[in-house]
């Protein structure tokens, strides 16, 4: 019988983080990149909750931390989407490859 241990959570989290990272580096659509960043943050949340459960089962430090992370991430996404909309109005595109006015 397979018991789910801390290691499984940590590996899952690492995988999720890597997937998110891959997305950030390869996706051309700004919204997709934003979503990939969310994936990375959720990897962190899995970590936090797992550690909370296995390492400090008596107090909920990790859970509370992850709630903070979720809240802040929501705010970040809100601002991020607003900016993407603003840039779409100006440039009629959300393809990141087009945004290189600022360089050198």
């Amino acid at each position: 019988m397979l018991t789910i241990s801390l290691t499984h959570y940590v590996v899952l989290s690492a995988l999720l983080f890597s997937i998110g990272l891959f997305g950030v580096l390869t996706k051309r659509n700004a919204v997709a990149v934003l979503i990939c960043i969310e994936l990375m943050l959720n990897a962190v949340n899995i970590n936090l909750v797992a550690f909370s459960k296995y390492i400090t089962p008596l107090d909920f430090t990790g859970q509370i931390f992850s709630i903070f992370v979720i809240t802040v991430a929501a705010a970040e996404v809100g601002v991020g989407l607003a900016i993407i909309i603003a840039i779409y109005r100006n440039r009629l595109t959300v393809d990141l490859d087009n945004f290189d006015w600022l360089k050198w």
Binding site: I37, F65, V72, A75, A86
Partner: protein
């Protein structure tokens, strides 16, 4: 005792400053809604005077020390000094750029977000646990993101905001991953507990990974090479007052939290991070100065120069000693004034001429002697020319690493010489070249005050560093008392 035992009585007076700043920010927001459009330019004065009042309150709190919620929130002279520094930076930015903001519009948002960013920084300065650290950091960052794209119809401004939020989000994910590992390894988020537990454990690969990710995540905020790529673009695209605040406030706050995290929570693995920080500092100094040389846009030039400055400040972290902390604080304080001077000139110049290009600064000494003089003093101070403040600051920083890191001192010296090249290029353009449009620039009252103030402070600290050095000594001393 767990940190979430809410039966611990909290002394609300300990949070006076943070509450006042929050109230000021909310007040400005409300005033912006209820006041008529024409009266909104007065909001700048309200914010400025409010901040000055809070600075006054902060000074009376000097010497206060303690912890809230079992070490989640630390109160000491160290935190207080940083808080005063942030508020001074915010006040200077507000005072020097009212005209610019009036031109952009959205005064209420601008001023309240500036103040909320300051609040975030203040939380960072006092943070005693990883959660508070993260919250302060994100409060500051999100406020800054909005400020960066304040000119929302300007392509450059929005592009800068986009780059900033995506890269900052990514870097906070990395930072958070590191923090979560740290929590997993020690079972605590409180820095003082972490340091105790780490000292008892051998160094594990997971801890090394956590360390790397934390260095990367926070290195992003101070724009240490190679995590600096965002900053030139964002600095150039953002409205100049925001750039100014970003380069002094955000950077200073990040240094405040880095010192706290590395020296309070991670002194046990000092051997593992000291050399990395030293090497990063060296690379940052080199790259920042080298790439600054070919720049033709004044804001971009200042951006690279501020990368190099961050490298100098990192030098103070290497020894994790009281002297190093003192050096960092001293330099950060004077850096605020030098940066405020330079960017206020840039912002005002943009206001009048609509240009940030270096070639348009030709003959500025004839058009406005004050602006040219302030720019010169600020740049020379950053270059570390005596008797200006920057010299004393660099002296304090590099003095801490003379034993053992001589190569870094050497890099610092050589690159200071290189930096003189591009700083003096600006001076040359301002003083030697003939202006295309010789009409004099009238500098308005508040701007004049800001400029003269920054110049005077830069000069006085350079000539008579004694008092500031005393204050910083006491602040650095309080750091180790917890």
């Amino acid at each position: 005792m767990t940190p979430f035992d809410f039966s611990i009585p909290i002394n609300p007076s300990a949070l006076t400053l943070e509450m006042l700043v929050a109230a000021l920010g909310l007040g400005i927001l409300i005033l912006g809604i209820i006041s008529p459009k024409g009266a909104r330019s007065g909001l700048g004065w309200v914010s400025f005077l409010g901040l000055m009042g809070i600075i006054g309150v902060a000074i009376t709190m000097w010497g206060q020390s303690g912890e809230l919620l079992a070490g989640m929130y630390l109160l000491d002279n160290y935190a207080l000094f940083w808080k005063i520094t942030f508020m001074v930076a915010a006040a200077l930015v507000i005072l020097g750029n009212m005209r610019y903001v009036d031109k952009v519009g959205n005064q209420a948002e601008y001023y309240s977000l500036t103040i909320f960013a300051t609040l975030g920084m203040m939380v960072m300065a006092s943070a005693g646990d990883l959660m508070t650290l993260y919250l302060g950091l994100e409060l500051m960052t999100i406020a800054f993101v909005i400020l960066v794209c304040l000119r929302k119809t300007d392509n450059k401004s929005v592009e800068a905001g986009m780059k900033y939020i995506l890269l900052a989000g990514m870097s906070s994910a990395v930072l958070l991953y590191g923090l979560s590992l740290l929590y997993g390894l020690t079972g605590s988020v409180i820095m003082l507990d972490i340091s105790r537990i780490i000292a008892m454990q051998p160094v594990s690969p997971a801890l090394v990974l956590a360390l790397v990710m934390i260095i990367a995540g926070l290195g992003f905020k101070i724009s240490a090479v190679p995590f600096h790529m965002w900053s030139p673009d964002v600095y150039e695209g953002a409205p100049t007052p925001v750039t100014s605040f970003l380069s002094m406030g955000s950077k200073a706050a990040s240094f405040a939290i880095i010192l706290r995290l590395f020296i309070t929570a991670l002194p046990g693995v000092w051997e593992n991070w000291a050399m990395v920080i030293a090497i990063l500092a060296g690379i940052t100094i080199i790259i920042g100065n080298l790439v600054a040389m070919p720049q033709t846009n004044i804001k971009r030039l200042l951006a690279y120069s501020s990368i190099a400055q961050a490298g100098y400040i990192m030098v103070g972290m290497v020894t994790a000693s009281e002297a190093g902390i003192k050096g960092v604080m001293f330099y950060a304080f004077l850096y605020v004034f030098a940066t405020a001077g330079a960017f206020t000139v840039a912002a005002y110049f943009y206001n009048v001429t609509g240009s940030d290009e270096l070639k348009d600064y030709a003959g500025l000494s004839q058009r406005s002697p004050l602006m040219a003089a302030v720019m010169l003093v600020a740049l020379l101070s950053m270059a570390g020319i005596p008797p200006l403040a920057g010299f004393v600051g660099k002296f304090y920083l590099f003095k801490t690493i003379v034993d053992g890191y001589l190569w870094l001192v050497f890099i610092g010296l050589i690159m200071s010489m290189v930096s003189v090249y591009y700083y003096l290029r600006v001076a040359l353009v301002m003083y030697r070249d003939e202006p295309k449009d010789p009409s004099p620039i009238n500098v308005s009252g508040p701007v004049t005050v800001t400029l003269i103030l920054t110049m005077l402070v830069t000069l006085i600290i350079g000539i008579y560093p004694g008092p500031l050095s005393e204050v910083v000594n006491s602040a650095a001393h309080s750091f180790f008392l917890h």
